[in-house]
Symmetry: C2
Subunit: 350 residues, 2 copies
């Protein structure tokens, strides 16, 4: 029997909380029966919801708090006034060692700030980064940062590369993931100085990272590499541009297939195949972004997700906790750091 693992949950975060949270727990327990949960939120609402999900109820301990961080809350305000919020208490449980990881579908900025404040960053990591999964022609890739790191220097990008590689190894179960830096050309002379410098550091490093070099925007969907490294500004725009394009294509397709009786019949015949396509592009399958680089596991779920999507986010946290992702990051980053400063020392002595 596998070991029991406890996760803490901000049960009040997300558009459909707490019901979708409780439903997500019920769903994830089918695949991961060894999980246990600390649920932070409004006790009466949660107990009401748990009545409908007996399997979930048996795996949960409810910790009451009436305080909630709203989506509109500013980061500073959440840090100051949110000390008894469901989000903060759920994070505290990880800091105190009561839970192996925390999951929230609430306010992203507040979650990142609170988690950084409570858990602190790993040694050598300046800023936490948020990766997201992408569907590709070859399967799935990871891109980071999708968080709030608007301006990134070369050192930040190198840290993202190391964290992303470990995340892909554990989260996507890829033995030796390839890593590329997003740029506007694959030649060494193109692009921003920070991406050029980051590529030089990774190229020179002795780390066992399969560094591919630069990739372009269309390489994301091609699946040219398993890990795409970029700053939070570019990453956010690439992610949302891809989502918008996929949605537009789906709308056009739907319009085309309902434009005449003949094409409606065609669509009906092709329905099982079209459903498979829809499933492949289903954003719920890609839900659950870990905040990498913290002393603890913190997973952000999409705010608008449902029970199925939230179950995916829980499963992500469980996998990462089981495989001690942070130990792997610490180990790898210590090597890049050593290698890098060693190189600088040598250069200084030459």
């Amino acid at each position: 029997m596998p070991e029991q693992l406890t996760l803490s949950i901000d049960a009040m975060g997300g558009d459909n909380a707490p019901d979708m949270v409780v439903e997500g727990i019920q769903v994830v327990l089918k695949k991961h029966p060894n999980l246990r949960f600390l649920l932070f939120g409004d006790e009466s609402l949660l107990k009401q919801s748990l009545l409908n999900y007996p399997t979930a109820a048996a795996a949960c301990e409810v910790r009451h708090t009436p305080d909630v961080i709203t989506n509109e809350a500013k980061v500073a305000q959440a840090l100051r006034a949110g000390r008894n919020s469901s989000m903060r208490l759920a994070i505290n449980a990880v800091g105190a060692g009561e839970a192996a990881g925390v999951i929230s579908a609430g306010n992203t900025g507040a979650l990142m700030a609170m988690a950084k404040f409570v858990l602190k960053t790993l040694p050598g990591i300046d800023r936490p980064a948020m990766p997201a999964y992408f569907p590709t022609m070859r399967g799935k890739s990871v891109m980071l940062d999708l968080g709030a790191n608007v301006e990134c220097d070369a050192e930040n990008l190198v840290q993202f590369a190391v964290m992303g590689e470990v995340f892909a190894r554990i989260g996507l179960n890829i033995e030796n993931p390839s890593v590329g830096i997003l740029n506007i050309g694959v030649e060494d002379l193109k692009g921003r100085q920070s991406v050029k410098d980051a590529a030089s550091i990774l190229q020179a490093s002795d780390l066992p990272i399969k560094f591919h070099g630069f990739v372009e925007g269309d390489d994301i969907a091609k699946g040219t590499v398993d890990v795409i490294v970029t700053d939070g500004f570019t990453g956010n725009i690439a992610l949302k541009t891809a989502e918008g394009t996929a949605k537009m294509f789906a709308t056009f397709l739907k319009d085309a297939l309902t434009s005449s009786p003949l094409s409606m019949l065609g669509a009906l015949l092709a329905k099982p195949a079209l459903n498979k396509l829809k499933e492949h592009m289903d954003p719920r399958r890609y839900n659950g972004a870990m905040m990498l680089g913290l002393n603890g596991i913190c997973v952000k779920s999409h705010g608008g997700t449902d029970g199925l999507g939230f179950a995916h986010a829980i499963a992500v946290a469980a996998e990462l906790a089981k495989h001690n992702i942070n130990d792997a990051i610490k180990e790898d980053y210590a090597r890049v750091k050593m290698d890098h400063s060693d190189r600088q020392d040598r250069a200084a002595n030459e």
Copy 2:
């Protein structure tokens, strides 16, 4: 009868040159019979090709040069050694007033550098910018910069906004185009300093520009605004991410529709509707990017395009020349400049 308009063409640029160039001329003449062309390139190749396109032959004057700028040529090398190239001589014809605009499907970097060197920028414009058309849920939008302006300050972005607005008015025939700045959130407090400052300048300006504020990546496909303003790094990555996503979706759809005899039959029945979808997403319909901000019209065609795509690029140049786009840009930008420095003067006096 409409007035005759002469355009100069780099007949040797592009993967399928010069045949696709000559074919493009033949195609565009059907819609624009008043166009005349100066064709720069290898005379014997061009005369050979023109034999197959008699309508094109009647509208063309061939100017012989054996020199060609290759796709691999570095910008500095092209500027130095390319003085007799088909690209350079075609640009010179605009500088000398022989042609109203130039079209090339050759090396983008070389074209931009040569055009800037020969034609110079418009008063008050620091750097030329390259817009591209995007298919959206509502029709078509324009995004800029897609050129080589990797780092842009607020002033550059404001210049792009003014040029893009005029371009959409003339190129897309929209009376009062709305303009948005690409950012990672729609709130004023998010994003890079340069985009925040650019938004402040545009918000404060008395220009008759319909400034929408910030837009996000998914707003591109939604068609939230007619003009999307961004730096060349982010723009290039958004464009290629969208292209890659659309291609992936099309591949998955094709796979789905050939996965079983039943879905193949369905696809057959829905074929006319699916063809309409394909046509709507056809990149050839969006070919032809003008380099905005130069003292002259210079249009870059995709290198890999065919005759139909090249015809689109010629039509873009013809439209922009006919409507004197550069006069409109000069006029608008003078107003933003005046307004902006006026404001600064007032602020300094307060």
